[in-house]
Structure formats: structure tokens, C-alpha cells
Symmetry: C2
Subunit: 391 residues, 2 copies
């Protein structure tokens, strides 16, 4: 089980300072949650993940079910022991993969999606590679092609074996191309599945209900209202959030207003630096995003803007450094003058640039470490400003 306490609410926004207590320690919120899909933060060890300032990680039920399988994880003593992370841990339910491996495969996700946005997914439509039924979702394993079925009961059973502190109800995450009727139908199914998850769960793990409803105000409100009426220990907010930050802000406002204030809210898969202050101001407590780790593996570092002039207590500003760029060949400065992580304390940009151009593996780790450290400092900065009454 977990407990959640809110210590301070902002007077300027819906931001709040709190703490989630879990059997594996505390998460001071707001907090960035590190993405450990395959039971590791890509390129790092769990000990290093901790050193970056991460307080909690989120692993993936779908991927760990396929490989190595929840039984193997359980034999290892559960996910905490398996990956040697003795801190708060979440698992998502597999609901996102209903989208990413379903309509996401057919129409693309993110930027690719926009190119094909003339498609409309109507009620009753089925993606090519997965089959969504009233009971759950039929997948094929990408490892051996075998048939897999994931529904609320299966997701609970798997997540119980994985043994994270916080588990998520199984939901259908819809595509941005789905129309109103599709979203309404999927949401209603997600609500039925939420009740089935509550009923199926036998462990003492904390269970979060997932709010869906696409970009539709009435559906989001209905979904949040539904989740708030059930015995969940917290809430996940899933699905899409419209085409721009202003729409995302409104949607979060509609949604979070319906949820119980004394329970933590996790925003699923959102957390680019440009989103973080906005979502915290709307009252989101935790959120996860692959941006810091993904960009690191492509040679990008997030650093504070206007190196040397930025004041830490002011609104945090950032820029993205492309270390592939030749202009860093002889740059003897550290990645970020304002950063005190070991990477910035140890190496020149010149060395990091060299390693990236030489296709070495070492710099992928170094940038991952720095970026996560930067994200966590970035959130800490906002937290401090909430404490001071500035946010």
C-alpha cells in the first residue's frame, strides 16, 4: 500500500507539494519518474539511476510479460530485486501497447501520425496487428510470434508477480485519430476493465485507475468522475492531450478537477522539459517520459540556457545541445557549467563529441546520466519555487 500527503498547495496555480510513501521508500512530489521499460533505465545501472536523483521508476508489464516473463522476474524475487532498485517502482498495465502496437503501428505515432491525419478511426474498427475485444486484447509476441492475451485480469496477475509498489489498471489507450464514438466506447470499456482490475487484484500493491476519454471534455470529465468514485489509491492520466500545450492544459484542468485531491495523479508518457512546469501547475504529481534517455542515445544533452548567467532560482530555462555537431570538436567547456553531475564535473564537450563521432557506447551513458540529472534538477527547481510561492 501507499499513502499520500499534500504539504502545500500553491496559491498561484493548482501545483502542490506532497509525498507518496511506499513499501520501498518515499517519492517527494512533484517528481519525474524514470522509464525502465525492460527493467533497466537504458544504458544505466539502477545505482546510477538513483544518483541522477530519480526517486521512482516505471517498468512495462507488456514487455516484461513477453520477455523474460513475470515468472522469471518472480523467481528472481520480484522486479525490485531483479533490477536491484530498492526504491519506489511502478508498472504500467500494457494498455499503452494496445495503442502503440495496434493503431499506432497502422497509422504511426507522434510526428509520423500527422502526415496521415486524414484517417479517422471509427467505432468498431480494429487495428491490423492486435484484436481488441470486450475482454481484452489479443497480441502476437514480437519475440516468437506466439499468441498473447492481455485483459484486466491478466494484467493484474502479471503485475502482481512483477511486484511493483504501484500498479496500473488495464485500459485502452486510444489513437489521436479515433473519433468521438470510438473514444466513448473505449472509455466505457476502460471503466468496466477498471472495476474488473479492482476485483481481480489480490495483493497489497497500490492500484491506480487510468482516466481516458481522448480530447473530449465531457468524456474526460466522465472518466475522471468514474475513477474518483472507485477505490483506487491514485490515478493515471492516459491517452492524448490534443495538438498543443494550451489544449493539454485545459484538458488537465477539466480532468484533475474531478479527481480526489488527496490521491496522487500520474501523467503517463508526458514530460518534455517544455511540458513539465505546465503539468505541475495543473496539479500533476508524477509523470514519466523517455525524452532525457532517448535524446541522450542520439547525442543530445539538455543544458541550462545562457550558460553562466542563469540564476538557479529563476524560472528554469534550457536548451538542447547536439553533441554530434562539429562545433564542439575543440570546446573545452563542460556540458553545462551550472550542473554538478559527475559528467559535467569530469569531461569536456570536446571529449564527449569525439566519443559520439567515434560511435562509442560510453557517451550514451554519460549523456543519459546528465540528462536525467538535469530533468530531476529541473523539477526540483520548480518544487522550490512552489515552496516559495512563486509558481
Amino acid at each position: 500500500m501507499i499513502t499520500f500527503s499534500v504539504f502545500k498547495k500553491s496559491k498561484k496555480s493548482n501545483a502542490r507539494i506532497g509525498v507518496i510513501k511506499t513499501p520501498h521508500g518515499e517519492v517527494e512530489t512533484p517528481a519525474f519518474v524514470g522509464v525502465a521499460t525492460q527493467a533497466t533505465i537504458k544504458t544505466l545501472t539502477s545505482a546510477e539511476a538513483l544518483q541522477t536523483g530519480l526517486q521512482a521508476l516505471i517498468a512495462n508489464t507488456y514487455h516484461l510479460h513477453i520477455r523474460p516473463g513475470e515468472d522469471t522476474v518472480k523467481k528472481n524475487g520480484g522486479l525490485h530485486t531483479f533490477m536491484q532498485w530498492d526504491r519506489p517502482l511502478m508498472t504500467d498495465s500494457g494498455g499503452f501497447q494496445v495503442f502503440s502496437l495496434g493503431f499506432g503501428k497502422d497509422y504511426g505515432t507522434g510526428k509520423i501520425l500527422k502526415k496521415r491525419s486524414d484517417a479517422v478511426i471509427q467505432k468498431g474498427a480494429q487495428p491490423q496487428k492486435v484484436k481488441i475485444t470486450e475482454d481484452g486484447v489479443e497480441f502476437r509476441s514480437y519475440v516468437d510470434g506466439s499468441k498473447l492475451f492481455l485483459g484486466p485480469k491478466e494484467s493484474m496477475r502479471i503485475q502482481e508477480k512483477l511486484g511493483a509498489d504501484i500498479i496500473l489498471a488495464f485500459d485502452e489507450c486510444t489513437s489521436p485519430l479515433a473519433d468521438y464514438e470510438y473514444n466513448k466506447h473505449a472509455m466505457e470499456k476502460t471503466h468496466r476493465w477498471a472495476d474488473m482490475c479492482i476485483k481481480a487484484k489480490q495483493s497489497k500493491q497500490a492500484l491506480y485507475g487510468i482516466v481516458q476519454g481522448g480530447k473530449h471534455k465531457d468524456l474526460r470529465q466522465e472518466s475522471a468522475h468514474f475513477m474518483a468514485s472507485r477505490e483506487f489509491q491514485g490515478y493515471g492520466i492516459g491517452g492524448e492531450f490534443g495538438d498543443n500545450k494550451s489544449i493539454m492544459q485545459k484538458m488537465l484542468r477539466w480532468t484533475l478537477a474531478e479527481l480526489q485531491e488527496n490521491k496522487p495523479r500520474h501523467l503517463l508518457g508526458i514530460g518534455h522539459l517544455s511540458d513539465i512546469e505546465l503539468v505541475i501547475k495543473e496539479g500533476v504529481d508524477t509523470f514519466d517520459c523517455i525524452a532525457p534517455t532517448h535524446y541522450a542515445r542520439h547525442g543530445y544533452a539538455f543544458i541550462s540556457k545562457g550558460q553562466g548567467t542563469r540564476k538557479k532560482e529563476k524560472a528554469a530555462e534550457f536548451e538542447k545541445l547536439d553533441l554530434n555537431n562539429k562545433k564542439y570538436k575543440n570546446d573545452l567547456g563542460s556540458l553545462d557549467k551550472n550542473c554538478e553531475c559527475f559528467v559535467c564535473n569530469t569531461y569536456t564537450r570536446s571529449y564527449l563529441h569525439h566519443l559520439i563521432r567515434a560511435y562509442e557506447i560510453t557517451p550514451l551513458r554519460l549523456l543519459t546520466f546528465h540528462n536525467l540529472h538535469f530533468f530531476n534538477e529541473y523539477v526540483d527547481n520548480i518544487k522550490n519555487r512552489i515552496k516559495k510561492g512563486d509558481v
Copy 2:
């Protein structure tokens, strides 16, 4: 400059215990030297390289000349500062690349070579991609296709800018397919180049002369005799060593007998576990090999044989574990019960197997760390047995 002292000579073999003192600390010999071609041990940081027990690293003149260039390294304060390795450091001369990018490209190296061993490289022959002249070697950069020329003077100038403690004379490393006349001619050129290196060197770095001569006893003896007659601070033994360990042993015996006893001998590119005791027994002080790092990146771990029964003081035995293999899926044991590295102290084989099967980057680091630790322990074990008079 360096100094070298021999503390103990074995009565059972030509093995010896010594210490090389450099401006960046000491190397207790015999010692495995870590390969840091591009100014990093692949996947690791220099701090971790030190934790594995490595005492010295060897970086590559040819590769660092091409990218990032010795001027960039010098601007960073030299190779030690660039890569944050404050310990003994060697650079090889680029002579190996005369082979690996020359006849090595045309006829293959290692196992591939054997398939085409009907070819004979005769005196006067030229490889397709590099041109070997009396003054040096013309290459093309693999980065931008530009022409490069590397000869004894150029190699010295580059190695001086890189600033390693020990630098190597520029030589021609011959292909195993080269005939006697080719080897004789190349060796004589290598000798002329050795004198040119001594003359060209302006720094206080220690310079090693490289013994060549292919698999021919008279050439090896002549080459060793030549190098011993010159003012070198130590010796590298390069080129090929025949088709089996018995021939390698004989060749080392012929060669090392001609060298000055009070100077360190580095065996270039040899150091599989099965070679190590043999070469140490012949009087080799240091040696480098990519085996521990290369195999790690392919999912292999070197571990002590007969887990749990091996006695550390007995002749070290080992086996190679293929962690890609499904049989480790539920293996809750550590990589090596007899190993005290952090990887063996932290993770199960089951977890490492999972990460490898999931194509994660993290396990490549973990296996690299363990393998280097294992190699260093392996050498330490032999060192202790020499001290006890058992080797």
C-alpha cells in the same frame, strides 16, 4: 621517462615480477594492458577501468590522428586529461594499421585469413588500400576519404602531442601470408624507421622499439638483436606468432633471449586467457588484447571453471559463458561465484540474460567490467604463483 625494476625471476621459467614507474604511476608486472583505441575502454569510463584493476591502457595513434586529431587531444591537455585517466598510458604507433588496413583488408585477419591462405605476399607487393613506401605509409581517412601519410617522424610527432607515458616506434606489421623475403625487407625497413623514431623524438616520453620478423627464427633474432642495440626504454613484440601456441612459445623464446633483460617487454595484441600464462612464462611483462571487452559486447563472460570448487591458489582455469543462451533464463546464480566484482555481487545471470536478449546497452557494460576484472585477477593469480615459486 620510465624506470623498470625486476624484483624476482622465476627459477622454473623465464617469468619475472617487476615494476614500471612512469610519470603517471606504476605498473606492477606482469600486467594486462586495457585497449582504449578511441581514448576509452569501450562501454566504460576511465574511473571504472581503474576499478577493474587495470593499471595501464593503450590508445591508438592512427585512430586518434584521424579523429579527433592530436591537436584536439593536445588542446584538452593531452590524452590523460582528455580521457580522465591519470595512470600509465601507452599509444601504439599506427604500425598495426599498416597491416590491418592494408593486406589485412585484402586477405582478412584471424580466422577469415585461414580460408584464403593459398595467397602468398611477395616482396614488392602492395595492398589495395594503403601504399607502403620506404618513408612510410599512405592511407585514406575512413572519416572523410582524405589522404594521410604516416611514417616514423609523423608517428612520433602525433604521439608526442597525444602525450602518453610510453610511445611505440613506427613499424610495418606484416601479414601471416607474407613470405620470407617480404618479411626480411619489411623488417629492415622497420629497423631504419626505428632509428628515425629515436632521432625524431623530442619529448621525454619512453620509446619502445618494435621487434618484427614474422615467423622466421633468424629474422626475429636479428630484429631483437637490433632493437637491443639501440637506446630504447623498452620493447614491443609485434607481428604474427605462427599457427599454434607451441610455435608462439618458441618464437618468444628466440626473441626475448636477444633483448636487454632490464627493460620491459610488451607483447602487442596477444592476451587471450589461454595465452597469458604461456607468454608470462616466456618473460613478457605487459600485453594487451581486445578479448575481454570484445566478447563482453557479444554477451560472453569469462568465469572460473568448476564454480565453487576452484581453489584460487591453484592454476587458474576458466570457461566462457554465453549469456545469450536460454539456459540462463532462470539461473539465479551470479556470473562467477568466485568473483568479487560489483557485477557478480549485484546481479543474477537471469537478469543479465534478460538484458542481453532485450538488446539493452547496460549489460554490455556489466560484462565488460566483469571480464576485465576477471582478466586482471587471472594475471594477479599468476603473479602470486610466480612469487611463491610455482610458475
